[in-house]
């Protein structure tokens, strides 16, 4: 349909933004921080790009740049998901068996 791949990608981007809006509206304030840090861990998806840049045949300046990107993105992903889980573990409802 389109000649330009970029245009198709842009369509995907815009539709994904709308999906994001629809999925996340009405999030209760209790979950604002975990949502933020969980979403942030997902933004560590840049790790895929880092892998592709770091995985070149020779160790060039480009591969070193990729290597640094892999480290930063992995910290983002691993730390982000773990700290989110640590927070969510703490959220508890009132015990029901009070009466």
């Amino acid at each position: 349909m389109f000649e330009s791949v970029l245009l198709i990608e842009f369509f995907i981007f815009v539709l994904a933004v709308f999906v994001g809006f629809e999925v996340i509206t009405k999030v209760p304030p209790t979950l604002h921080t975990p949502l933020m840090s969980g979403a942030n861990a997902i933004s560590g998806i840049a790790i895929l790009g880092a892998l592709l840049v770091a995985g070149q045949e020779d160790v060039t300046v480009g591969a070193i740049i990729g290597f640094m990107a892999v480290i930063l993105a992995t910290v983002n992903v691993v730390g982000g998901f773990m700290v989110t889980d640590r927070m969510l573990q703490m959220f508890k409802k009132s015990p029901v068996d009070k009466n």
Partner: protein, 467 residues
């Protein structure tokens, strides 16, 4: 034929990962399912990473494995060691890392194309430049936000003459460099562009004051998603584009909730520092500081709380600073055991990031169904015996509701002044981060309990136990 099957296989797994991200985010929006949502999203990430590794575009694994090991160790240590009171800083750092990774991806691709002598089409080079811009701004902006939250950098708005003009010129310079690089790819100019983008990130965040941090943090969260998406455009990788877009939207929603809770527009928060400083200096009338306030002893506070029918606690940033969440919970549980109805009222922008107070109180084992938002609880204050304000200031300032001359006029506040009695735990009478005097402190039904919040709470608890 085999090639085609392999691509299909990779694509199908990417699709699975995308679906897991969407489901994970959806579940993150409800307390019951949030933890599983986070797990589902992380499973999606694992699949996406493994799929990328088995894809044949990657030929050398040494650096990758080393990078993943180093990153995973650092990340897990940080996630375990961080104190809940320091969560805003942590989120700021992670936002910055995501941005930096995305910028580095763009830089790596640019460098690779230049050293290979690959001709870059307009599409490719423009996406590389945009990826660098968003990633670098996210990175340096987040570092400044971290510095402010950690109080390495002044938390008040930092401004200098002609700041806006300078930022604007810098932005024009960045656009010019991008234009040049699209026509004439050159590594030196590219480095110049990167430095300029980093500087822009610093200039965008440094004029923003501590109390506006919830907006900044959620905005940077959104940027970190957009940075990932722009790296996706650079690589033509749909997975990055979709995941980045989802995060961008999530951050934007939070930003919107925060600005609404402050009755300000995003433009006003990001570019309003100059105006804010002027109005604040104009509005603080030194004469008002001499008005009498009523101080209260720990023992009297104990009596008020122990014999009340209903008590609402209103925590603010001061609770995090004093690390008094456990003591607050202890006090709440103690009077609750005596038959007092206890609730917690949380203003959306209390603290330094969205949901800051909720996380702190969750850490102290306060059940989340005892925490009420502004709309849920605001009508209850008038029928409440005692309200205890712990380290909150601007979010309980009646001036925002009644005084059209107040710089924060129009910001929705918790109507604590309508309660029977108000006890304010505060270090001193100094105004809050917005620098605005608070009429609440001078009202007839308000008692001030001066001192460190944690120490005050401990003494009140002891006094109640002695009753």
């Amino acid at each position: 034929m085999n090639d085609f099957d392999f691509d299909l296989f990779i694509g199908a797994l990417y699709l699975v990962a995308v679906i897991l991200f969407v489901l994970g985010l959806k579940r993150l929006a409800s307390p019951k399912t949030a933890r599983s949502g986070n797990c589902i999203a992380s499973l999606g990430m694992l699949i996406a990473v493994v799929v990328t590794l088995v894809d044949r575009e990657i030929v050398s694994f040494e650096l990758i494995i080393a990078g993943i090991i180093v990153g995973a160790i650092i990340g897990s240590i940080m996630a375990r060691a961080i104190k809940m009171t320091a969560m805003p800083q942590m989120v700021a750092v992670f936002n910055g890392l995501g941005g930096a990774a995305s910028a580095l991806v763009a830089a790596g691709v640019f460098h690779g194309n230049i050293s290979d002598g690959t001709d870059m089409s307009m599409d490719v080079s423009v996406t590389i430049m945009i990826g660098t811009l968003i990633g670098a701004v996210t990175f340096s902006g987040s570092l400044i936000a971290f510095g402010k939250l950690q109080e390495i950098i002044a938390t008040r708005p930092v401004t200098f003459p002609l700041q806006k003009t300078f930022s604007l010129l810098l932005f024009v310079g960045i656009l010019a460099m991008i234009g040049y690089l699209v026509i004439e790819p050159d590594m030196t100019v590219f480095i110049g562009l990167s430095v300029a983008c980093l500087l822009l990130g610093i200039l965008l965040v440094i004029p923003i004051g501590g109390a506006d941090m919830p907006v900044v943090i959620s905005l940077l969260n959104s940027y970190s998603g957009l940075a990932a998406a722009s790296a996706g455009f650079v690589l033509g990788n749909v997975m990055l584009i979709i995941a980045g877009a989802l995060v961008g939207a999530a951050g934007l929603i939070l930003t919107q909730i925060m600005t609404k809770a402050m009755n300000r527009s995003l433009v006003n928060v990001v570019f309003g520092a100059f105006g804010a400083v002027e109005t604040v200096s104009g509005s603080v009338d030194p004469g008002r500081e001499t008005r009498p306030v009523r101080e209260v002893a720990h023992e009297d506070s104990a009596v008020m709380l122990a014999y009340a029918r209903s008590v609402i606690f209103v925590p603010g940033y001061g609770l995090a600073v004093a690390q008094a969440q456990h003591q607050l919970k202890e006090l709440g549980a103690l009077i609750e055991a005596n038959g007092v109805a206890v609730k917690y009222a949380i203003h959306p922008v209390a603290g330094r990031m969205p949901g800051h107070m909720n996380v702190l109180l969750a850490e102290a084992d306060v059940p989340y169904d005892k925490l009420y938002d502004l709309e849920q609880i605001n009508d209850e204050f008038s029928s409440t015996d005692v309200v205890v304000v712990v380290g909150a200031n601007d979010v309980v300032n009646p001036g925002a509701r009644d005084d059209a001359g107040s710089p924060i006029y129009g910001m929705p506040i918790l109507n604590v002044d309508r309660a029977g009695q108000v006890i304010v735990l505060k270090r001193s009478l100094s105004p809050g981060f917005a620098g605005i005097d608070n009429d609440l402190f001078y009202k007839g039904n308000t008692s001030m309990l001066f001192g460190d919040a944690r120490e005050s709470l401990v003494r009140v608890i002891a006094a109640i136990e002695d009753l």
